[in-house]
């Protein structure tokens, strides 16, 4: 049975900010977009931060656009767990009744939002790449990419509050931090017991992360490389480029997950991307949308990647690369 919510009793736009000692970059993006939408609605922007030993992060959220910050600091919230974070979020939401709630579409953000939507009996839209509001009705409209990004569904929830959405990282721009912005930080006490957290963390590893998403130049290897990246590495060092790969190369253990480009990996924002031996599946090319110039090299003249490239080279990468590298080396020496 769908409970009937008095929709207009819900006010305010909330953003859930993930932190690992510092706020994740998507948190700044949520604050930037959230600020714009809250102003349009004439509602306040509240940031929610859960963790342990949160320090100055509340202040940081205000500098990036929040009017108000709710901080929940508890030893059992150190490190994300579904049960711990869902319990606290559900409690805050039920007490304070926000109208809209945005999460980053990260692994943990999606894990949490999916659970909360059912607990709170409300609608949730996924991986939004555009957000708008209908001021009259207080409605959130989110654009959800479907079929690997080739189609956008514009989705709203007329019933069910808060209106929730996970938001794709790397899409919205943060505001310039402003040290003079004023806001309120409220610390909320919660009751959380160890036995309420049913998943135990056996091991957690955080490897140093090379952010290939923000590299200026990227070479992307597909299955056409046969997993042999030696030539790419040479070219990459010449161009001072990062190396990304398509998903099957990650699955085959050729490169780490952090190098995967595409809808279930990283979106590139580089000025130049050279894509070598990748066919151009829609789940992959959605990671190239924000690239300035795309160069594609592929033996198959009908490969869909050529529809997504500015410079198209039909040819075998193993034949093209050695003489290309030689030429570029000479050109570079000539510059020195």
């Amino acid at each position: 049975m769908k409970p009937e919510w008095p929709e207009d009793a819900h006010r305010g736009l909330w953003v859930y900010l993930e932190q690992q000692g510092t706020l994740l970059p998507v948190g700044h993006e949520l604050l930037g977009k959230g600020r714009e939408l809250a102003d349009e609605l004439g509602e306040s922007l509240t940031a929610i931060i859960l963790g342990h030993g949160i320090g100055d992060l509340g202040r940081e959220a205000i500098r990036y656009g929040a009017d108000e910050v709710l901080v929940v600091d508890h030893p059992l919230l150190e490190g994300y767990t579904t049960d711990g974070h869902a319990k606290v979020m559900a409690q805050l939401i039920e007490e304070r009744k926000p109208n809209i709630l945005l999460f980053g579409a990260t692994y943990d953000g999606r894990d949490l939002a999916g659970r909360l939507a059912v607990r709170l009996s409300t609608g949730l839209t996924a991986n939004a790449t555009r957000l708008e509001v209908d001021r009259e009705k207080g409605l959130l409209l989110s654009a959800v990419p479907g079929f690997g990004g080739s189609i956008l569904a514009i989705i709203k929830s007329e019933h069910g509050r808060p209106q929730m959405s996970t938001v794709r990282p790397g899409i919205f721009a943060p505001l310039e931090p402003d040290d003079t912005r004023k806001g309120q930080i409220e610390t909320v006490a919660v009751d959380l017991r160890p036995e309420e957290i049913r998943c135990r963390v056996v091991e957690r590893s955080v490897l140093p992360r090379e952010e290939i998403g923000s590299a200026e130049r990227t070479l992307v290897a597909g299955m056409g490389t046969g997993g042999d990246l030696a030539l790419l590495e040479e070219l990459a060092s010449l161009l001072e480029a990062s190396i990304g790969v398509t998903r099957p190369l990650v699955d085959n253990g050729v490169a780490g997950r952090e190098r995967q480009v595409g809808s279930t990996g990283v979106s590139l924002r580089s000025k130049l991307a050279i894509v070598l031996g990748a066919s151009g599946a829609s789940h992959f090319v959605s990671g190239l949308r924000d690239v300035g110039t795309v160069v594609a090299i592929n033996t198959d003249e009908n490969a869909p990647i050529f529809d997504e490239a500015d410079v198209c080279v039909i040819g075998d990468l193993f034949e093209l690369l050695p003489p290309l590298i030689e030429r570029l080396e000479k050109a570079k020496m000539g510059m020195a």
């Binding site: 999916g114 839209t125 996924a126 991986n127 929830s157 069910g160 091991e203 130049r217 998903r247 699955d251």
Partner: protein, 264 residues
């Protein structure tokens, strides 16, 4: 313990083959080839691997139109024991809220389960919201985006693949896990078994009424989200400039195109 495993899977059109009809603003899937949602094949392989090690049973559940039946038979051919297709006109238009409710009711009706294995996300809507929603309806813990699953006694231990990092979690069963695409090599079906499944009608069909669900709890009526509009994902306009000539000429042209990006 011999785990009773449920694999929840769906069938999707190949994303490259779906287009938007700009006039009616509806999806044109008619020409599209359907496939089992790729991560769901990996989910099934995890289940079958656990069954190889521990024994137990693998039950398939899927909510969708009758055409899903053929795909469930393929999965039975891979080694699953039984399959239930949740099919009813009332289920049409479901968002993730009633989808996860419908699946949860079916799983509860099976009469006992230990582990539910899903794919990480579908290749069509890609929300990834069904696994955590399902876990909430069932009232059990969830471990999402995993690439390794082990069972020890009544505990499930799974590794979440989180980009450059990972975490290993354990929970008492029953629990729900979602498996990332490409995390294993799904086995081939035994086609004699596929044929037997088709001939003897192994796939059972359950309707909303059989799950004790009312028409306003399922499908479009049971959904909170409303599709307001469908638009083309703004295509990025690319120049599509093909370099011409011999290999040498192409290399020269390419080098010239790249030179502005070289820094002394």
């Amino acid at each position: 313990m011999t785990p009773r495993i449920v694999v929840s899977l769906k069938v999707v059109p190949k994303p490259e083959e779906v287009s938007l009809n700009p006039e009616t603003r509806t999806l044109d899937r008619a020409g599209a080839e359907n496939v089992l949602n790729p991560p769901d094949k990996n989910a099934l392989e995890v289940a079958l691997g656990l069954k190889d090690t521990h024994g137990g049973t693998v039950t398939l559940v899927s909510m969708g139109p009758p055409l899903f039946k053929d795909y469930l038979e393929l999965c039975l051919g891979m080694g699953a024991d039984q399959a239930i297709l949740l099919s009813d006109r009332l289920f049409a238009g479901a968002d993730t809220y009633p989808t996860s409710l419908t699946l949860a009711r079916a799983i509860q009706k099976l009469g006992g389960y230990d582990l539910v294995i899903c794919g990480e996300e579908s290749a069509d809507a890609s929300t990834g919201q069904v696994p955590p929603g399902l876990a909430e309806w069932l009232g059990v813990p969830q471990i999402t985006f995993v690439d390794e699953v082990r069972v020890q006694g009544d505990t499930v231990i799974a590794r979440r693949a989180l980009g450059s990092s990972y975490e290993v979690l354990e929970a008492e069963m029953p629990a729900v896990v979602s498996v990332v695409v490409g995390s294993n090599e799904p086995r081939f079906p035994d086609f004699d078994r596929v044929e037997a499944a088709a001939k003897s009608g192994w796939v059972k069909v359950w309707t909303a009424a059989e799950l004790g669900l009312r028409d306003d709890e399922v499908g479009l009526k049971g959904s909170y989200t409303i599709v307001h509009d469908l638009v083309e994902g703004e295509p990025v306009e690319r120049k599509r400039h093909f370099l011409q000539g011999s290999l040498e000429e192409k290399i020269r042209a390419l080098a010239e195109a790249l030179e502005p990006f070289l820094r002394p």
